[in-house]
Amino acid sequence: MPRAPLPEFSSSVRLKYVKLGYQHLVDNFVTFLSIPVMVAVGLELVRRGPQEIVGLWRALELDVIHILCSVFVIIFVATVYFMSRPRPVYLVEYACFKPPSNCRVPFSTFMEHTRLINSDEKSVQFQMRILERSGLGEETCLPPANHYIPPHPTMEASRAEAQLVIFSAIDDLIRKTGLKPKDIDILVVNCSLFSPTPSLSAMIINKYKLRSNIRSFNLSGMGCSAGLISIDLARDLLQVHPGSNALVISTEIITPNFYAGNQRAMLLPNCLFRMGAAAILLSNRRRDAGRAKYRLVHVVRTHKGADDRAYRCVYEEEDAEGHTGISLSKDLMAIAGEALKSNITTIGPLVLPMSEQLLFFLTLVARKLINPKRKPYIPDFKKAFEHLCIHAGGRAVIDELQKNLELSAEHVEASRMTLHRFGNTSSSSLWYELNYIESKGRMRRGDRVWQIGFGSGFKCNSAVWKCMRTVKTPIDGPWSECIHRYPVHIPEVVKL
């Protein structure tokens, strides 16, 4: 007679509590260890009574010198310890560019313009299908030059867009923080697809009359993950220069990058990329610790460029007619997944609680030694972070990551809503998403945020922040007028 099948252990309620107990035990191992010691000491103290304790103290015959020495040693050791730790990097405040409503590109405008610019009906239909499934909303914005039929991608117009988005964001930041431009010590600008000479960093130095001994860097061509590269660079600079602050600007200038051809792989950016910019103020000054919003905990960069497939998946090239555009390969999702896995392998040990790490390690050992067919254990990153900001590259990217990391709808809500309201603003999208979480009043002191950016190269970069003070709503930002309408349900296909 066949035995009844074994019950499904993984879904058993009892096992769930066992797992919970295991997690608490391993995570708070040191505390558990010290409890019996503390109890013993406490009991001993109570048993001996206060009189005996005072007597014991007198018997030690400590005079002033001994006490002073001991105190001195303790202070000395503590100072050495604190001095040798890396300087904390604080995010004092950040501001995102709020596009004006006259730059809006609702679906109808986009399709009308596309039909007038592009004579090839198949390309028009393709772009319509992309837009229907893109996850974008009706309020995303394109720069003024792209509203012309055909678009006017001159250098002057590109500079004008740069001035519009960057200066608005910086003005906003100055207003919020009372920052004096002459106080800025470090300036890092990243803009992938527009790199004039003199650089955008020189443009900012000129407009705000920054100091002549400023350390400025202009990164270009580094893709949608360049925002975190800038943060990494600013962090390194802040480690070296005490008492400094750094202004980081992340943006993407859309004007010069309109693709005028018919190659399908190159039409996608036209449909997805939208105007945006973010200005971030970082500082390592102790006096800013009180008013800072976040503290930077980790930045992990992963570059998959050594693999030819990964290198070619987001590639700027010319089509047969000589039009330049960015071609996105069909492998993009798979490559993004692989890049994320590599990044997670590095960041996992840094952020995961001991319980998850132990489980991961044990299952890895089990797979290697006992049973290779066993499913790999995917660490529960939800235990390590309260909020996630995934680069809003496109609906497919967010879906893929949600599946890979086993995330709930709430975890990816910020990304989806940012894609809907602002489109793919490239490197600044992570900041719009963070602003969404804050606007919803979900950001509490002690919360940890994980920002993940993907970009051409192929790179996957992560940053981990810890919230230092609860952010009270309502907040002044790009979401201020529309946050009450969010979250919205985004259908699979919006019929146009």
């Binding site: 050495v80 790199s195 270009s220 570059h303 460029g305 050594a306």
Partner: protein
């Protein structure tokens, strides 16, 4: 209690020793050593002679006779020889419509040949590189040039890449500054920096005179160099970085717009060089020197400068006519033996040379570099250094000052200390014997000398 006393002493000694060790260890890792550098030498079929230049200019049907004369005049009087190199697309007649492939090929040629040689000479494999910086001002494709290199040389996943762009002719010290800062946060790090310029997509095809100068002066060139802060590689290093000063005068509107990439009235993009450039350069130069002098000059010279300054002020207040317009000179040669000046043009080199009180011997490397290679933008400093090395001028303990100017307007400088006698010919290997030549006059002066009349 003696025991407590002993314990306290032991703890105190231990903490102070470990603190001192940490400080010493930090200092060991703060040095930035230049392991090696390789300057780019394009193939001979890319040589841009005056005759070829003239043909290229003639191809631009929009130019009138006065424009043609002006351009040819600049070329003939530029101090540039027949041996400088241009991009293939221009030589082959595609200067008006370079393709993305042309730009990629130009950049690849430079980066790959210099990097291959650099890795070969240092014996270090690409997989050991921790930091990669590329600075090419006027070409920034996606994926970036750093990704291009990571792909070709199969570098590690955790390599830190930085692609600097738009930072002009003075970007070399900026890249070094970036690497130096990263070095101070990590131990035993190896960095590779590639500096070059992209000429192919930036040839100006219009009629605006201020934008045509770039065509006459900029030439193909580049350099890859390897830096490290690993003290165990010190014995193989050529130089050690002593200090670096950056001065950005972009806050001033004239300075910001004096060297700018813009569209002309016909909508063609070109690099505009305004007439106020020399004045702006002087101002930026002064600012840089003010910060550089205390770091570079010996105390004696600084004291002398203060005394001379006071004396000058006193004299000036008494006899205004005689001393009006004269400035107190600082003798930079007391703190620096060799000067690598940016080869922006003959006038720039002469002006900087006289401001620093340099003689013909001191500016010879820069002048000869301009003659042999033209203005190769950010990499020019390395060709000048190469000249000095090929001429066996660089001896142990000598100090080398690199000084460059660039759009923004920036003036950046860095001081190196030579660690051992250097003798590599490098890119100058086959031509150093012919330098300095008897005359720097363009051999086509006879043929095109008529442009100097009228």
């Amino acid at each position: 209690m003696e025991l407590l006393w002993m314990i306290a002493t032991v703890l105190f000694l231990y903490s102070s020793l470990s603190f001192l060790w940490k400080a010493f260890d930090c200092r060991r890792n703060q040095n930035c050593y230049l392991l090696d550098y390789v300057c780019y030498k394009p193939s001979d079929d890319r040589k841009l002679s005056t005759e070829l230049c003239s043909d290229v200019i003639k191809r631009n049907k929009r130019l009138s006779m006065p424009d043609y004369k002006f351009l040819l005049k600049v070329v003939v009087n530029s101090g540039i020889s027949e041996e400088t190199y241009g991009p293939r697309s221009i030589i082959e007649g595609r200067e008006e419509s370079p393709t993305l492939d042309d730009c990629d090929d130009e950049v690849d040629d430079c980066m790959h040949s210099t990097l291959d040689e650099l890795f070969h000479r240092t014996g270090i494999s690409p997989g050991d590189v921790d930091v990669l910086v590329v600075n090419i001002s006027m070409f920034a494709p996606a994926p970036s040039l750093t990704s291009r290199i990571v792909n070709r040389y199969k570098m590690r996943e955790d390599v830190k890449t930085f692609n600097l762009s738009g930072m002009g002719c003075s970007a070399s010290p900026i890249a070094i500054d970036l690497v130096n800062n990263v070095f101070e946060t990590r131990k035993r790090t190896l960095a590779v920096v590639i500096t070059s310029e992209s000429i192919a997509p930036n040839w100006y095809c219009g009629t605006d005179k201020s934008m045509m100068l770039g065509n006459c002066l900029f030439r193909s060139g580049g350099c890859s160099f390897m830096l490290t802060n690993d003290p165990s590689l010190k014995h193989r290093a050529k130089m050690r970085l002593k200090c670096l000063v950056r001065a950005h005068s972009g806050a001033n509107d004239d300075a910001y717009s004096c060297a700018m990439q813009n569209e002309d009235t016909d909508g063609r993009v070109g690099f505009h060089l305004s007439k106020s450039l020399p004045k702006v350069a002087v101002r930026a130069f002064t600012e840089n020197l003010q910060a550089l002098a205390p770091k570079v000059l010996p105390v004696g010279e600084l004291a002398l400068y203060v005394i001379r300054g006071l004396r000058h002020r006193l004299r000036r207040s008494k006899e205004t006519k005689a001393y009006a317009g004269t400035a107190v000179r600082v003798n930079f040669k007391s703190g620096v033996e060799h000067f690598c000046l940016h080869t922006g043009g003959a006038a720039v080199i002469d002006a900087v040379g006289s401001a620093l009180g340099l003689n013909k011997y001191d500016v010879e490397p820069a002048r000869m570099t301009l003659h042999r290679w033209g203005n190769t933008s950010a990499s020019s400093l390395w060709y000048v250094l190469g000249y000095m090395e090929a001429k066996k001028r660089l001896r142990r303990k000598d100090r080398v000052l690199m000084l460059s100017f660039g759009a923004g307007f920036k003036c950046n400088s860095c001081l190196w200390e030579v660690l051992r006698d250097l003798e590599d010919g490098g890119a100058w290997e086959d031509s150093i014997q012919a330098y300095p030549p008897q005359s720097l006059v363009n051999p086509f002066m006879d043929k095109f000398g008529w442009v100097n009349e009228a």
